[in-house]
Structures are given as structure tokens and as C-alpha cells.
């Protein structure tokens, strides 16, 4: 087996050193009844060529986003990632290192995490950010748990503009943590209903902008209402590129900002691995979940970085920890950091503006299709449309015409009664001819 260096001679010689007659002697503590004499019923070892052949065939059975018109967003976005990003994250020293438990020989990872935390804090307009979460949805659920700890209140208000998967992920944790969720009805302008739902028991308000329908909202008034009631405002963003064009959560009064960071540095990957961003006001730092990287000095006074404030974490505090998270999303965070360093503020702002422009071009083209109603008034790079037919059926028909037309809202939330709503997205990767083909084929399907 090509990954196993020991030879038969090595094994025999090592058993001698150990003083064991056979490998079975090393498994004496395992109950005989539980040991299998033979092999499990699975294929035997395979060479690189065979494995590559099988996996390539599976990969070829998927319609890639880059091979034709493609308009899916709704929490995962197709962007161009510079080639150097993937090259750097495949370096052995980044790819094959562990969590930086020995900082003297992990400064590469640690300094990158410090850069990541600084970039995320800047993007969200908040004071401190952690070293990443699994993804945006779990970051949202953890933010609600954190607000519950900070305020010692039991109620959380979730805007109807929150991505339904994020809502469901939060519901799963809230159910066992004893947090009562008020989940407001899904609507393009769902934020308008949030303030009325805040009361003296509210620990936090969760608002997504741009929301799942694409609506970009100034949440300043919601922040003021939440703070007046002693609640925290959690602002969720699924499209991190939007930070380059829209006011930051911090500027609008958020206490915690969480986001899906996939858009920067990471491929679609059929939903994972992604990278959750988590930022907060400084005074909340000791209630944050996840790892934090901090600056210090070494014995010679040189600047260096370590994992810090670990007394919040499970390996020290066990059942009193702020979260059970251990492994996070380090390599995806590194990809984010490198892509962000390449873009810089100048590149990010331009990239965001291009995304917005493409989406406006898409809107113009789709608005001209008979029967299509544009639902989202102000958006970044995605918006909702109402079709005269069931959106799922239309998407299926367009897929047969090699157009991946977007995400039927009912796929995310079948119970909302919005079966005719389609979520569409355009990014810098969207070509004018893709938009034209989409509009043309949609006209035919709706005719």
C-alpha cells in the first residue's frame, strides 16, 4: 500500500523489539467476540489511476457552474478566486499542520489568523473577530447562544429575512438550550416587522442584510430599538463581498456580526467546507465562542502570536465552556485572508461594485420577460422574482435547457407559501450572453 512505509521485515523486527509474537498480541484487550478475523465486505486497495478514474466519472456527472449560464446564490456564491490562493493553501506547511498548539513552530498559521481576525473586524466594522467558525449558519446559531449568555434572557427574535437554513440551524440549538425563538414570517421586506417583536425578555434580534431575498437594509433603527430594550443586535451576512459596497454591521449598530465567508477565497464545493466569520464588540469578547489568536512576545522580546483567552474553551473549561467548538475552518480562513490581501480595499470595492452592476443587468433583462415580477427593491448581487408558474418546475425545465436558473425559495422553506418565488444571483463571473440566454429561455418556458 503506497501510503504505508513499513515493510514485512520492519514489522517483524518491531514486533521483536516489543516482545510480541504477532500483531494479534497487541489487540489482546479487545474482546475476542468483537474482533473480525477477515476483511470487511468492501473492495480491496486501488491504485491512483483506478481511484482517479472512478472519481472523475462521478465528477463528470455533475453540471458545473462554470460550464454554462448559472444564477444560484442564496448562501453560496460563485466568484473567481486567483490561482495564487489555491497554490499557497496547498503548501505543506499550511495544509499539513495542526491547530497551533506549539506557537514557536506555528507562527505561520498564527500570524495568518491574526491577519484574518483583523480583516474580519475591519470588514464587519466591529472590534474583535475570532479565528473562524464552521460556516455562516453555525456562526449564527452560536451568536444567539452567546447573546443568551450575555443578557441572561431567553428570547430571540429572528427576522423573516434570515436564510431558512440558518433559522433551522439556530432552532436546533435553541430547542436544547431553552431559548425561545420568535421566527417572523418570510417576506422580502421582513425587517419592517422586527422592531414590534422586541420586548423586555429579548436577548437578541437576528437580522440578515442583504437578506435571503436579496434585500439590503439599513438596520440602524433596529439596533436602536434592540438596545433600548437591553437586547443585542446580531447582523447576519451570507455574501461577504457585499461588505465592499454596503455599510458594515458595526456602522449600523450591530453588537455581533456573523457571516458566511465562502465568497472570499473559497470555491462552491457543493456546500462545504466554508468559513464562518464571527465578530463582536470588545466588551463581549470573553463570551465569544471559538479560538482567538492574540499578540504577545517571546523570551527575547520579539513579537509573536499565540492562541489566547482559552479559558473560554472546551479543552480547559469542559462543561462550562462558551461552546463545544474545537476544530474550526483554518485552511478556508487562510484562503479568505490571502484572497482579501490580494484584493485590498481597492479591489474589494471594485469587485463589489461589479457584482452589483451585473445583478442590475440581470434585473433589467428579467424585468423585460413577460410575467416576471421583480420583488426586491434594493439589493446587492441577488434578488427575488415572482413567476407566473411554480418556480421549482420552471427551474427544472430551464436545467434541461442547460440554464441553472437560481434557487426556488420553496426549496429552502417549503412551508412559506412562496412557491412562485425564485432567488437569482449574478456575480463578476456572470457573462452578458448568460444573462441574455436566461431571459430568452425563461420567456419561452413561461410562454
Amino acid at each position: 500500500m503506497r501510503y504505508l512505509p513499513l515493510t514485512a521485515d520492519d514489522r517483524a523486527g518491531m514486533l521483536d523489539v516489543i516482545g510480541a509474537a504477532s500483531i494479534d498480541d497487541l489487540f489482546v484487550d479487545v474482546p475476542k467476540a468483537a474482533q473480525r478475523a477477515g476483511l470487511v465486505d468492501l473492495p480491496l486497495l486501488a491504485g491512483e489511476m483506478e481511484v482517479e478514474r472512478e472519481l472523475s466519472a462521478l465528477a463528470a456527472a455533475n453540471r458545473t457552474a462554470g460550464s454554462g449560464p448559472f444564477f444560484c446564490g442564496a448562501g453560496a456564491y460563485r466568484h473567481h478566486v486567483p490561482a495564487s490562493v489555491d497554490h499557497i493553501i496547498q503548501r505543506s506547511e499550511f495544509l499539513t499542520s495542526y491547530t497551533p498548539y506549539q506557537p514557536e513552530i506555528a507562527q505561520g498559521t498564527l500570524q495568518c489568523l491574526f491577519e484574518f481576525q483583523t480583516q474580519v473586524a475591519a470588514l464587519t466594522g466591529l472590534d474583535v473577530a475570532n479565528a473562524s467558525m464552521y460556516d455562516g449558519s453555525t456562526a449564527t446559531a452560536e451568536a444567539v447562544m452567546m447573546a443568551h449568555r450575555v443578557t441572561r434572557r431567553k428570547k430571540a427574535v429572528l427576522s423573516g429575512g434570515l436564510h431558512p437554513h440558518y433559522r433551522e440551524t439556530t432552532q436546533t440549538l435553541a430547542h436544547v438550550a431553552g431559548v425561545d425563538l420568535t421566527c417572523l414570517a418570510a417576506a422580502v421586506d421582513a425587517e419592517a416587522a422586527v422592531i414590534d417583536a422586541i420586548d423586555a425578555d429579548t436577548a437578541c434580534v437576528v437580522v440578515q442584510t442583504p437578506n435571503v431575498f436579496g434585500t439590503a437594509t439599513d438596520v440602524t433603527a433596529i439596533a436602536q430599538a434592540a438596545h433600548a430594550a437591553g437586547a443585542l443586535l446580531i447582523v447576519v451576512t451570507t455574501e461577504a463581498i457585499s461588505y465592499g459596497l454596503l455599510k458594515s454591521p458595526g456602522e449600523m449598530g450591530a453588537d455581533i456580526a456573523v457571516a458566511e465567508g465562502q465568497s472570499i477565497g473559497n470555491a462552491l464545493n457543493f456546500g462545504g467546507p466554508y468559513v464562518g466569520l464571527f465578530a463582536a464588540r470588545e466588551k463581549l469578547v470573553r463570551q465569544m465562542p471559538g479560538r482567538l489568536c492574540g499578540e504577545t512576545v517571546d523570551a527575547d522580546g520579539r513579537r509573536g502570536f499565540v492562541l489566547t483567552l482559552s479559558t473560554r474553551e472546551q479543552h480547559i473549561r469542559r462543561d462550562k465552556a462558551t461552546s463545544n467548538i474545537c476544530t474550526n475552518s483554518g485552511l478556508c480562513a487562510l484562503a479568505f485572508t490571502i484572497h482579501m490581501s490580494l484584493l485590498g480595499e481597492t479591489g474589494l470595492r471594485r469587485l463589489a461594485a461589479i457584482n452589483h452592476q451585473r445583478a442590475r443587468e440581470l434585473k433589467t433583462a428579467l424585468a423585460a420577460v413577460p410575467g416576471v415580477e421583480i420583488l426586491t427593491p434594493r439589493f446587492f448581487n441577488e434578488f427575488a422574482i415572482r413567476l407566473p408558474k411554480n418556480a421549482h418546475a420552471v427551474v427544472g425545465e430551464l436545467a434541461r435547457r442547460n440554464i441553472i436558473a437560481g434557487v426556488p425559495f420553496a426549496r429552502l422553506d417549503p412551508k412559506a407559501g412562496l412557491d412562485d418565488v425564485l432567488l437569482v444571483c449574478a456575480t463578476e463571473t456572470t457573462l452578458p450572453q448568460d444573462i441574455a440566454a436566461f431571459a430568452q429561455q425563461l420567456s419561452e418556458v413561461l410562454a
Binding site: 513499513l6 520492519d10 464545493n269
Partner: protein, 521 residues
């Protein structure tokens, strides 16, 4: 000396020898090929970018009105060559499995095959969206189905939830299924039993799910104390969580009895599968009476750790827990096709809900499946055998110099020593670990498991050659001999030869600086 809550020193003692005595200082601060690399915020141009994008008409954003971000964000940029240099220089300050043995016990740092990286980057896996029509992603669903089949077959369990994103997320998934199963019976139990030697994630997860954690005592030979378990098991216990092989590197000999006792009071048996590497292909957890077990794909199935993630933590479930599995999951349509079940309805009515957006860590699924497929049933069994052989070889080669906390006997995939042998030397486990860095090795896991004083937990994995093991053994023996000979200075101030010398963790925690700021610069 400043100690943290588990007795680990967090800063160096005063008055130990300084590096300047050891090194010839250079004029620039650089040390040969090792560059002193500033932060990006000290390097980058505020106007600079390394990405060429088409021009864009700014007036196109007028429709956003006062939503437009006008204040400076504060993000420097670099050209591509500068970016490469910055991050490649930083990379050279990391240890990595590709450089040398990385014996972190319980972490399973094994070789990461590059075929797996290549496969995960095929556009057919990397460039597909989780919400595309299912008809356009049949290859991806098929791969997930094949992965599920391998995981179920290797564990002897009837069901698997793929979506959990790491080991601790898998624990959460398992305990949520257990809680849902009890709730379905109208049985609101409040306690979870966890051995003292467990990973911190076990009690943290149980508490997160709303359970009170009660610790189970350990026997003098490093295993679950059956009498104590039996005394604490009653009808309020929802689950028993046991790591097997356990964190002392030992197989729980009474595992079948633990499962039987657990089931006798109506509780479920959760197994932390972090150490599945030791038994894969030889022992099926389903044959031991396990109800739920997470599998760290980034340990046993070798998806890269990436400096702290991403991981993936699929959970295999018994027939009793399978109905409560999280959404989504894959079903066969019967014509070679696959559907995703994404919501609680009909057959999925008892699901406890969703763990995360979308369907899990697809990129990790591809790598893990390529790894399993490469090894096959025979290669995976050999993985367990070689992992156990390598650990026992290290133990046999060091046990005359270092002390073991439990009576000598075969270990599984990792060898555990304590610090009794360092008594009187003035050297701590931490000092010893830091001196290992100078000798070119990443230290073993230290101060874990918590039940062993000054623990040193060594896991070589199966991907080390005998020559590399011998190199490691020679280095550790030389250090142990030096410590016993009274050469404490070598240890107290180590490391001398790392990119940085010992870091002051106390200062980092006392005055946290968690981001770069212009004022601080």
C-alpha cells in the same frame, strides 16, 4: 512561575539563559533563510491591489443611496508577487507532517495523500452549488452515497448522518439524536455520564445540549471504572459517552458490558470515535453495542488538518437513533439516481432538524472517499495494525527511561507517559516538549488526558517509516538522558532554534491584543 488551570506553565521563569548567548545576532534581525515578516497591515498599500478587474461605473450604485459604505474599511492590498512572498515566508515558520513526525496524541497527524487534493479540486466537485437542481448533481450525490456505504460497513452501523462539520459537531449531532429519542418517548432525562479522561468536547457538548455532566471514575489501569459507572447509572441518565480506544491509548476491555449496563437503564451509548484509526477494519463499533459515534474524517480518513480545520464529523447511528437523524440525507430513487431529503416530512418526520446550511463538508467527503477507496478493506485493516505497531514500538523503546501511568501492557494507537520520571530534574513536561522542538520534532500532546499528571501522549500513526520512528526515539532518548543527567538549562529556556523562542501566554491573555491597530504599530 505562572500556571494555567491545568498546571501548565504559561510563561518562562525569570533568569533563564537568553538566546543571544546561543546565537550570533545578525545586523538585520533576519536569521539566514528565516525572514522576519511583518503583518500585511505593515506591508500593504492602502490603494494597492493584486487583482485586475474591469472598470466599473460608480453611478451604478446610486440606487443603494445611503446604504453605500463610504468610510474607509482599512484593508491593505498586495500585488501577486508580494502576496506569494509574504505567505510563503510565513509558511516557513510552521511545522508540518510533510516535514517530520507530528506525534500529537489524539490528533492523528498522518500523511495527507495528494491524490485526494487533486480529486477534491475537480470542477465536478468544487464548482457545483449546493442548491442546484438535484438532477444536475447526481455524481455528487452518488459520491456521498458511496462514502456513507463505506462508513456504515466499516462501523457495522445501519445509518449515518454526513452533515456535521467536525468532531465536536458530530458529538452534538449524536447527543441531539439521543435527546430527540428520549423526548419521543416522553422521557426527559437530565444526565450524561462522561469519564474523567474524555476530550473536553464531550462534557462541553453534553452541557450545550442541556445535560448535567457527571464524571465516571477511572480504574488504576486507565479504564472506565465499571463499579462507579454502575453506581451512577439510573433512569435519569440519557447517555454514556466513552472514547474507545480511550484517550490513554487503551482499549476499553469492558466495552460490551458498558453498553449492556447503559442500555439496561434505557440510556444510549455514545462513542467518541476520534481514535477509530486504531481499530478500523478490525473492530466494528456496531458489534460493541454503540448507538452513535462520530468519525473525524480529518483523523482516521486523512483529510488535511489545515492548521485547525476544516474537519468533518459524520455520525453513524444505531437503528434506535436513525429515525432522529438530522436533515438532509440521501435516498436512492431506485433507478440509479439519488434524491436529497431536506425537510421534516413523511419518513423524515422524527428528524431533530438541521445541523448547518446545505449538506456538509463535500470537499472532505471527496478526500475521505478517495482515501478509503485507495486503501480498500485490506489497506484499512493494515492502517490499524501499523498504527498500533508503531505506537507500541515507541513505547517499548522509551519505557526504560520514561514512566507510564498505568501497568505496562499493549497500547493501541498512542503511547502515554507521565512526568514522574522528571521528578527532581527541574524539568517540566512543557520544558521537555519545547526542547523537542530544538531537536526537530513537533512535541507530543502534553497535559492531556487530564487524569495523568504531566501527561505526554505520543501518536505516531501508521504513515511513519521505521527509520523516522528510530530518529524520533533517538532524539527523545537523548533528551531524557540529558534531563536525568541534570542538564536542566537545555530545557528551561528552550526552544532556541525555532522561529521564535518561548512565547509569553500570560501576557497575551492579560492584555488581549486580538487585531492589528495603527495605534499599536
Amino acid at each position: 512561575m505562572t500556571l494555567n488551570t491545568v498546571g501548565r506553565p504559561t510563561r518562562m521563569e525569570e533568569g533563564v539563559s537568553a538566546a543571544s548567548e546561543y546565537l550570533h545576532p545578525t545586523l538585520t534581525g533576519a536569521r539566514g533563510l528565516l525572514q522576519d515578516e511583518p503583518l500585511i497591515f505593515e506591508l500593504g498599500g492602502w490603494e494597492k491591489t493584486g487583482v485586475d478587474l474591469p472598470d466599473c461605473d460608480a453611478s451604478q450604485s446610486d440606487d443603494l443611496g445611503d446604504l453605500v459604505r463610504t468610510a474607509r474599511i482599512g484593508l491593505p492590498g498586495l500585488s501577486e508577487p508580494e502576496t506569494l512572498r509574504h505567505y510563503v515566508r510565513l509558511s516557513q515558520k510552521n511545522h508540518a507532517i510533510d516535514l517530520a513526525l507530528y506525534p500529537l496524541g489524539s490528533c492523528t497527524m498522518k500523511h495527507n495523500p495528494r491524490l485526494n487534493e487533486k480529486m477534491a479540486r475537480l470542477p465536478g466537485f468544487a464548482d457545483i452549488h449546493p442548491l442546484q437542481p438535484e438532477s444536475t448533481v447526481q455524481g455528487a450525490l452518488s459520491l456521498m452515497d458511496r462514502l456513507a456505504h463505506w462508513l456504515k460497513t466499516l462501523t457495522g452501523m445501519p445509518a449515518v448522518a454526513l452533515s456535521p462539520k467536525a468532531g465536536a459537531h458530530g458529538e452534538l449531532c449524536g447527543l441531539l439524536a439521543i435527546r430527540a429519542a428520549h423526548e419521543a418517548k416522553g422521557d426527559a432525562r437530565k444526565t450524561v455520564l462522561v469519564p474523567m479522561s474524555a476530550h473536553g468536547t464531550n462534557p462541553a457538548t453534553a452541557a450545550f445540549v442541556g445535560y448535567q455532566v457527571v464524571e465516571i471514575a477511572q480504574t488504576d489501569d486507565g479504564r472506565v471504572d465499571l463499579a462507579d459507572l454502575e453506581a451512577k447509572l439510573h433512569d435519569d441518565v440519557a447517555a454514556v459517552m466513552v472514547t474507545n480506544p480511550n484517550t490513554c491509548g487503551l482499549f476499553e476491555r469492558d466495552i460490551i458490558e458498558i453498553a449492556r449496563l447503559t442500555h439496561a437503564v434505557g440510556a444510549y451509548f455514545y462513542c467518541d470515535g476520534a481514535n477509530f484509526n486504531a481499530i478500523v477494519g478490525r473492530v466494528r463499533p456496531g458489534d460493541l453495542g454503540v448507538d452513535a459515534m462520530h468519525i473525524n474524517l480529518h483523523k482516521t480518513f486523512s483529510t488535511p488538518h489545515g492548521g485547525g480545520g476544516p474537519g468533518a464529523g459524520p455520525v453513524v447511528l444505531s437503528a434506535a437513533l436513525a429515525p432522529f437523524a438530522p436533515t438532509p440525507w440521501i435516498v436512492s430513487t431506485g433507478e440509479g439516481g439519488f434524491d436529497l431529503i431536506e425537510e421534516a416530512k413523511a419518513d423524515a418526520a422524527q428528524t431533530f432538524g438541521r445541523m448547518c446550511a446545505f449538506h456538509g463538508q463535500m470537499g472532505m467527503f471527496v478526500r475521505a472517499y478517495a482515501y478509503m477507496r485507495s486503501h480498500g478493506a485490506d489497506g484499512l485493516r493494515q492502517v490499524a495494525h501499523d498504527a498500533v505497531l508503531n505506537a507500541n514500538y515507541i513505547k517499548a523503546s522509551l519505557k526504560d527511561l520514561m514512566t507510564q501511568p498505568f501497568p505496562d501492557g499493549p497500547c493501541m494507537h498512542e503511547a502515554l507517559f507521565d512526568d514522574a520520571w522528571l521528578d527532581g530534574t527541574g524539568v517540566t513536561t512543557l520544558d521537555f516538549a519545547k526542547a523537542m522542538i530544538d531537536e526537530g520534532f513537533h512535541p507530543m500532546t502534553m497535559y492531556f488526558p487530564l487524569v495523568v499528571h504531566g501527561a505526554m501522549l505520543i501518536e505516531p500513526t501508521e504513515t511513519e517509516s521505521r527509520a523516522e520512528l528510530d530518529r524520533f526515539i533517538t532524539a527523545v532518548r537523548a533528551l531524557a538522558t540529558a534531563a536525568k543527567a541534570g542538564d536542566a538549562e537545555r530545557f528551561k529556556a528552550a526552544p532556541f532554534h525555532a522561529p521564535l523562542r518561548r512565547l509569553d501566554e500570560t501576557q497575551a491573555a492579560r492584555k488581549p491584543r486580538l487585531r492589528w491597530t495603527p495605534q499599536a504599530a
